[in-house]
């Protein structure tokens, strides 16, 4: 498959203001030099703890937040320097499902108007009646019935709201969907319904998905590749099975180790692999390797030198000085 979207050395710093006369005193380095490419029709998972910058990266990729440095290319075109109709077309192809449907659906609009907005954007020539027909088709495609068309978001359950959010995405027929923790606000028993729906849609549209999540079980189940983020950087990226079975970055191993799982996937169990302390702040990330303050394997070199990406095996990259110590299984 050809490359659909490329993020090249993307950086996003949020300024922190302070002092009596407010001025910038420091930056939160939310995304600090991330390079990632997504192929057409591929499901890439982005995992990491809160504050690792995964949501910020999702917003940058979709065109919602201009990066301070670096470029985002969609089918070879920089999405932040486009203008006019091409910009519109590219934006149609980049859609997002947010974590919390309560804040992403307008509480004053009925489901039908929420969806028809999207439909009219795509097909301005449609008549009123044709739009309504499209709305009903969309509702059916996400497993809702026609009754839902004239309801307001507050009349729907969490799962139904997320279905509406997905329907709105489907209307745009995008080539890339960013799913930013789409199920973490939902009940456990409803989660798999929504995930299945999302994967059905992905198969039908042959769209790529950037799946942002901290639920490793779900990531294991649906993704083709996984990128692990820590403090604004990607520390390891590999095919899903490769990453889960042969993690080569200590942080990945620790992440896999600490998640309580009931799945039939292989579990990393190295007792010495326990993280030390808590994540440092992204305002003043540690020198050298950002993980060295918590890493059980850290040596002098980790404090001084930032590790570069090394290829562990085909398509498996890891930013650690000691990849030869891996895999931690």
């Amino acid at each position: 498959m050809s490359v659909l979207l490329e993020a090249i050395h993307v950086k996003k710093y949020f300024p922190i203001y302070g002092g009596i006369i407010p001025r910038v005193v420091n930056y939160v380095r939310a995304v600090d030099d991330v390079t990632l490419s997504i192929r057409g029709g591929e499901v890439v998972a982005l995992v990491g703890e809160s504050g690792s910058g995964k949501s910020t990266f999702g917003n940058i990729v979709i065109g919602l937040m201009k990066p301070d440095e670096g470029r985002v290319l969609f089918e070879g075109r920089d999405i932040y320097s486009l203008k006019g109709p091409i910009k519109k077309e590219v934006r149609h192809n980049l859609q997002i499902v947010f974590q919390n449907p309560d804040s992403s659906l307008n509480p004053r609009m009925q489901v039908a108007s929420i969806l028809s907005e999207a439909i009219k954007e795509m097909n301005p020539e449609l008549s009123k009646y044709e739009v309504i027909e499209e709305v009903l088709k969309l509702l059916e495609s996400v497993g809702l019935n026609p009754d839902h068309a004239y309801k307001y978001p507050h009349e729907l359950s969490g799962g139904e709201k997320q279905r509406v959010a997905i329907a709105r995405v489907v209307a745009m027929k995008p080539k890339l969907i960013v799913a930013d923790e789409p199920v973490s606000s939902l009940d456990v028993s409803v989660r798999s319904q929504i995930l299945n729906l999302l994967m059905d849609i992905q198969a039908k549209l042959n769209a790529a998905i950037l799946f942002i999540s901290h639920d490793l079980g779900v990531v294991w189940s649906i993704s083709d590749r996984v990128a692990v983020m820590y403090l604004g950087r990607i520390v390891e990226i590999a095919d899903t099975e490769e990453l889960f079975n042969y993690p080569s970055h200590p942080y990945t191993a620790i992440l896999l180790n600490s998640a309580p799982l009931l799945t039939n996937m292989k579990k990393v169990r190295s007792e010495y692999l326990k993280p030390i302390g808590e994540p440092p702040s992204p305002i003043n990330p540690p020198s050298g390797c950002r993980f060295h303050t918590r890493c059980p394997l850290a040596k002098e070199i980790c404090r001084r030198e930032e590790p570069s990406f090394k290829e562990v095996s085909n398509g498996h990259y890891s930013a650690c000085h000691f990849i030869d110590k891996a895999p931690f299984t």
Binding site: E49, S189, Q193, H214, P260, P275
Partner: protein, 320 residues
Amino acid sequence: MSEKILSIENLKVYYYLHQGVVKAVDDVSLDVFKGEVLGIAGESGSGKSTLAHAILGLIKPPGIIVGGKIIFKGIDLTKLSQDEMRKIRGSKIAMVFQDPNTYLNPVYTSGFQVAEVFEAHNNMKIVDAIKSKVTEIFRLVRIPEPSKRVYAYPHELSGGMRQRVLISIGIASRPDLLIADEPTSSLDVTIQAEILSLIKEIQSQIGMAMIFISHDLGLLYEVSDRIAIMYAGKLVEVGKAHDVIMNPLHPYTKALLESVKYTRKSKLPVIEGAPPSLINPPSGCRFHPRCKYATDKCKIMEPKLKTIDNRVVCCHLYGD
């Protein structure tokens, strides 16, 4: 298992709202034994937090304990006055809440808030308590530099540290029963694992019983001795953690476990439908509209709790 420390009998907690009566906890009976960890699992709205609040006497109108008993060491807690309850709450039964950001007071130091336990129950002066007892507890929950951190305000601490302060408040008086309501769900996974092993360690050190509430079955399996599953205000299954997780009896437990057994690149197993409204719960068994095995009997008759080889299950499929 040794003696019963807490015994809940046919407890009913209803909320009287404009829209109707929400039967948040409906006829639940449950025992907690000395020194054990009892895990309670359920979706949001299944009544697990209401149950915890009822044990602590924290049900406020429009919520009312409509019926049943909560017997703690021979005393029925539902019959106690506010003053009597206050003596037990925080000293004999304590709680660790979910979100340290809302349960810690931002204008008091973390040490002060732990010291309040000693002031209330041991007649100690706050200043003395902070220096002696609280520093000791902070050491126990592995807060680095405890003698300094007792004077830190909540905002000066990280999420994991704040959760440790909450745990300190819970264990300060070495309670007989600690109720932990999703104590790790606001934390990141790597820290969650650490806090979990800490709680477990302290629990066995002090020898207290613990009720651990969570929606995450994987997590419960790691910490609990026994697990109780709740659905729509009802208890559906209770048993040893290993039995419930490895060999579930109730269709809801089965489906719940099925839905987190992820396999590579295949459809995720699904429980159809959504959790019911508690104002108008389905007739008969509350799970019947979503149950694969439902029969006509399930629609009409409410199943009773049945005991099968040391396990309790509430389903028509079993026994008679």
